[in-house]
């Protein structure tokens, strides 16, 4: 199906039918002063051949690295079947499924996505997705505040939540008068301390955010944290990596009552790293919160003949009907990314996901063992980690990472910019894509870099 279905003749016939001389005349109520008259700085269009060349050059500029960085976006194997299916014309459309009569395929796919993601997270309802993990967390915070019967406008967020997620949430909720309180973490073990939370008992908050695994890869005491939140009559918001749920308890089963809302980034489920996006955010919740949930929700129903069909549901809370009083200004979703994730989950199945998560975990453990065998390198936190870990290096972390990059290795994420106390630390990750030889190479190269640093400094400065 062509993207723009109207020919010039179609347009002329339609204008003639309504008695308008030109398309521009339909917009003549807009004052002339507001007309921006073109977009300066936007280059001319390119031919397909020129565009492909430009795209290849840009892709080359990214480089081809042996990658050990996770920190929120993960390099997993993407089965070859996924993207040829996703990029079929039926899915690869820019528009969204308002018209049930014309969109049954897309609606069914979203319904199946919702089914898979609710099963993975152990909660009752899912929306059709959000932009990314950070905006999903923000929407979960707004949802918790909106549904708080005591009108508390404060939310507790551990420092172990992804720093970018916290920055996005801060930027978006501040203007609505919602206060985010950052909770400290245990510097020995890298998790949030339930005992320390009692300091916040007298500061009424609508919700406690609980990451699992947290930004350091460390496992949080999610049962105790969830129960603590519920004991204060707060909602528990889970922030999870969907891949790890193949191994970990689903948020719907945390503590005695389960987390109330669960969000995260869906990128690990078949979405390429792709210079940072597009990814997608997911959100599931308990049934009682469904009317507070932002965005699209697809439901299954029957038509007049009793045949199964799918349609958008609970739209009365959305802004195209409820206008300024809508639950959220979210009015779209990442349909294409959701298509990829749905196909990924269907192809992998529970066993496949478990194997990916387990192999990522054992590869990361093997990497940590190899690296911490080097003098001066140690693992920072004592609590169990999943498929990421924090490593302390003997020296400035950014400088050592630069030296590794010069040897073709992206060695990890330097934590100093986000956590001043961890300026000599990096976050490393080895997914199922890494072989023993890859891990050996990383350890060898790091050993070489560190041993050179022990040599008394030459007056000549190295170039890297």
């Amino acid at each position: 199906m062509p993207f723009i279905p109207h020919t010039e003749a179609d347009v002329a016939a339609m204008l003639n039918a309504i008695g308008a001389p030109a398309i521009d005349s339909l917009f003549d109520e807009i004052p002339a002063g507001l007309d921006c008259a073109g977009l300066p700085g936007v280059p001319e269009g390119l031919s397909e051949m020129a565009l492909m060349r430009l795209a290849r050059e840009r892709a080359r500029a990214d480089g081809d690295w042996l990658n050990f960085i996770g920190a929120g976006a993960y390099e997993h194997h993407i089965p070859a079947a996924i993207w040829p299916i996703v990029t079929r014309g039926e899915f690869y459309s820019a528009y969204t499924p308002y018209q049930a009569e014309a969109s049954q395929g897309t609606l069914q796919l979203i319904y199946e996505y919702q089914t898979l993601i609710t099963r993975l997270t152990g909660l009752d309802v899912s929306n059709a997705s959000l932009y990314d993990g950070a905006s999903a967390l923000t929407e979960a915070i707004l949802m918790a505040v909106r549904s708080d019967k005591q009108n508390r406008r404060r939310v507790l967020v551990p420092a172990t939540v992804h720093p970018r997620y916290r920055a996005v949430a801060q930027a978006l909720v501040n203007a609505q008068g919602i206060e985010i309180i950052t909770l400290p973490y245990c510097t020995d073990c890298g998790h949030s301390l339930v005992d320390a939370l009692d300091l916040f008992k007298n500061q009424p908050a609508a919700a406690l955010v609980i990451p699992q695994p947290n930004f350091f890869g460390v496992l949080e005491p999610v049962d105790a944290l969830t129960d603590w939140a519920h004991a204060q009559d707060m909602q528990a918001i889970a922030v999870v990596n969907p891949m790890t749920l193949a191994l970990l308890k689903p948020p719907g089963q945390w503590g005695h009552q389960g987390a109330d809302i669960c969000v995260g980034d869906g990128q690990p489920l078949g979405i390429p790293l792709s210079s940072g996006g597009p990814y997608f955010g997911f959100m599931t919740a308990k049934q009682a919160l469904v009317r507070q949930m932002p965005g699209r929700i697809v439901g299954r129903t029957v038509d007049l003949d009793g045949k199964t069909g799918f349609s958008l549901t609970l739209q009365a809370r959305e802004q195209h009907i409820r206008r300024a009083k809508a639950t959220s200004n979210i009015c779209s979703n990442q349909g294409l990314m959701v298509a990829a994730a749905t196909i990924y989950m269907s192809l992998m199945g529970p066993q496949g996901l478990t194997r990916v998560a387990a192999t990522s975990r054992s590869n990361t453990r093997a990497l940590v063992d190899r690296l911490t065998a080097l003098p001066g390198v140690s693992e920072v936190f004592k609590r169990p980690a999943l498929h990421e870990a924090v490593i302390r290096l003997p020296g400035d972390a950014s400088e050592i990472l630069r030296a590794l990059t010069a040897r073709g290795i992206q060695g990890g994420y330097a934590l100093g910019a986000d956590y001043a106390e961890l300026s000599d630390c990096i976050l490393v990750c080895a997914t199922e894509t890494k072989t023993d030889a890859d891990l050996d190479l990383y350890a060898e190269q790091l050993e070489r870099i560190l041993s050179r640093r022990d040599i008394p400094k030459c007056k000549m400065q190295p170039k890297w």
């Binding site: 009317r291 009365a316 809370r317 009907i321 409820r322 009083k325």
Partner: protein
């Protein structure tokens, strides 16, 4: 369309009734439920909340739209009809038999400022034209 003569009304289609204990029971009118169509959800205010006259305090959602319900007069919410949360369609069956919430009025005389049945009938007729 039914408009009982023993109730008071607002232009935003709420009804109010003064009870023997001094509280005021509030619901939506038959005309309102007819406009909205099949009800699927009712969200009442929390008990204890203090309402100003005209304040948005509840939501009724039908298959067509979600609409706010406004407090006819100022007061404190003393009870809500929880049964409606499970069976919102009761509002379609009989909007006067199924109240939404009850308030203790700040000033019972405020009720006198609301419309009687004849005035509400006239307001609905005017809206239709």
């Amino acid at each position: 369309m039914s408009i009982p003569t023993d109730l008071k009304y607002t232009a935003s289609h709420e009804w109010a009734r003064l009870e023997a204990d001094g509280s005021v029971t509030i619901g939506i009118t038959d005309h309102a439920q007819e406009l909205l169509g099949d009800m699927v959800f009712v969200e009442n205010p929390t008990v204890g909340r203090t309402l100003a006259a005209g304040e948005e305090c509840a939501v009724v959602e039908s298959v067509k739209a979600a609409s706010d319900v406004y407090a006819p007069i100022a007061g404190e919410v003393v009870s809500i009809n929880e049964a409606l949360e499970a069976e919102p369609q009761k509002l379609n069956e009989d909007a006067y038999a199924h109240w939404m919430f009850r308030i203790q009025p700040a000033n019972a005389a405020d009720l006198d400022g609301l419309m009687d049945a004849a005035a509400y009938q006239a307001a609905v007729d005017a809206e239709a034209h």
